[in-house]
């Protein structure tokens, strides 16, 4: 199993040794970095292409229909067909749009999406850059995409995109805070910001050792995942590009390759957020039998399936409910969760701390859903059937 586990590392080592005989050693360093960059630069778009196909297939199956199967055997070549379509489509720039910013917005949108790949621990020893502030890097990079949304909506100069831009910026900011705070308990218990160290921390623990099996870990996981869905503007929170209201939100005026770039950024964000959620709470590449990188991909794709599942089922929130959920429910819960996680680590007796933590969290959840946010609760409705 060891060979299969570090198969990629060995191939790279063999390749570098082969090159080593006639290249100076500092050149080898550059080639090493070049390989890593090349892998990410290829991995990102390919993942994006096959996520679009996966999404259409999964949602198709949920609706008892087949999903794309015309291009290639099971629709394998469908992403390539979409890519070609996006290339050949005419790239329209609105007449009084601001040319430079209109062009820059999609380009700058893809950069943070690609940068986020740098800190994801794909397998044992297979982490592109082992920053010791990896997690903070991820959050900082994903927060810069708000500016690109602004640029896109402001440059297209039409009412719908301005509305969409404002909404999505407000949504991204208000969901960033609970997302950051829900990660604090994980840092607290792993005592390090580096994603690699966090995965090792989860391996070190005794018994069921992933953070998701601790009470505060479960709540933090749910909130982190939901905020991740909101960050990528996906299903229940996909207000900015709500077709039924404002035609296509901030990327109304984009077509052709620029629209494909927005699309690519969204799907890469989906992948990176699910990958990070898997790393922080589901033990990253930690797994009994299979090789480490396979575990990483299984967990990530499980979470991606959940995201597509949301898209296939749930209706959309309205603007004020969306904001209300972030500020009035997620934020207080994450703060309480940090206290509980702190207390959890101080108490040594195992089952008392689990019971205590889960009791406190349950009470606070009910407090915030049933008592304080009475307005958002569904009302009991009675209907009388008369002759």
């Amino acid at each position: 199993m060891e060979i299969l586990d570090s198969i990629f590392l060995n191939t790279k080592k063999i390749f570098l040794d082969l090159l080593g005989c006639w290249l100076p050693d500092w050149m080898i360093l550059l080639v090493n970095i070049g390989i890593i960059i090349g892998v990410i630069a290829v991995l990102g778009p390919v993942i994006m292409m096959y996520l679009t196909l996966l999404e259409r297939k999964i949602i198709g199956r949920m609706q008892n229909r087949i999903g794309p199967n015309r291009v290639g055997i099971f629709g394998i070549l469908q992403p390539i067909a979409d890519g070609i379509k996006m290339f050949t489509k005419e790239d329209i720039i609105p007449q009084n749009a601001d040319k430079i910013v209109h062009f820059l917005a999609p380009v700058l949108m893809v950069i943070p999406a690609l940068l986020a790949f740098a800190v994801l621990p794909f397998g044992r020893g297979m982490i592109p850059v082992n920053l010791n502030v990896g997690l903070l890097f991820f959050i900082a990079v994903s927060s810069t995409s708000t500016i690109c949304v602004f640029m896109a909506s402001w440059a297209s100069r039409n009412k719908f995109s301005i509305l969409g831009g404002m909404r999505s910026a407000a949504q991204m900011i208000s969901y960033e805070i609970p997302m950051v705070l829900s990660v604090v308990p994980v840092i607290l218990s792993a005592e390090s910001l580096s994603t690699y160290a966090i995965v090792e921390a989860q391996a070190r623990w005794s018994g069921l050792h992933w953070f998701v099996f601790t009470p505060w870990g479960l709540l933090a996981f749910i909130i982190f995942f939901l905020c991740g869905v909101a960050e990528c503007n996906r299903s229940p929170f996909d207000l900015p590009e709500a077709e039924s209201e404002i035609v296509a939100g901030f990327h109304t005026e984009y077509s052709g390759m620029k629209f494909a770039l927005f699309y690519m950024a969204e799907y890469m964000n989906t992948f990176t957020v699910s990958a990070l959620a898997a790393t922080l709470f589901l033990g990253g590449w930690e797994g009994p039998v299979l090789p480490s990188w396979l575990w990483f991909f299984i967990k990530t794709h499980a979470l991606i399936f959940v995201m597509f599942w949301f898209r296939g089922t749930l209706p959309r929130f309205r603007v004020d409910q969306l904001m209300g959920l972030a500020w009035k429910l997620f934020l207080p819960l994450t703060l309480i969760n940090i206290f509980v996680a702190g207390g959890y680590h101080l108490i040594s007796d195992r089952n008392f701390r689990v019971a205590g933590a889960s009791a406190v969290l349950l009470v606070s959840f009910l407090l915030f859903t049933v008592f304080l946010n009475r307005k958002y609760m569904p009302e009991k409705r009675r209907y009388d059937l008369v002759d």
Partner: protein
Amino acid sequence: MFFGLGVLRGLMVTLKNFVTSYFMPPDRGGLFTVEYPEKRLPVIERFRNFPFLVYDKDPENPRCVACEICANECPTKCIYIEKDTDPNKKPLRRPAIFDIDITVCMNCGICEEVCPFDSIYMDHPFEVASSDRLEKLLFHKNDLLKSNDYFHKIRPTHAAAIDARRRAVEEKKKSAAVKPSETGQPPKAQNGGKP
């Protein structure tokens, strides 16, 4: 009670459909897509699309006698008929021109009901798309004429009932012809009621 419960129950429904779509039959949650060009749904017998003219033995003399009842009764006025004339200008009981403008016809089936001579019926093929809108979608007589056994092929029970009724009328006429009828007035073609 619990905030997220309704959403979870909804998710379970879609998950059930996702799982059953792999092995269940179409009407119990399985895949009900029919991949159109390769596999097709069976055409239902009473399905009515654009009309066609029936002829018994040869396309030269169809059942239609150019009485223009269907042209008058058609709500969208999409039928145009011109009587045929023999060499010395005596009108014959046969249509020279029988055009149906497919783009105007809304396949309502009224011409089929009002035709006293069982000569026009609604056809089944629906793939009549063509590149030219004016010329190709104006069906002339020879595009419309189809044999009686074609009629039997696409609408077996209905065609059988029509033929039974026509044979009954034939016998009655023959028996009436054998016994010289007093009034000498040929029995009026008995209009066929619907089965």
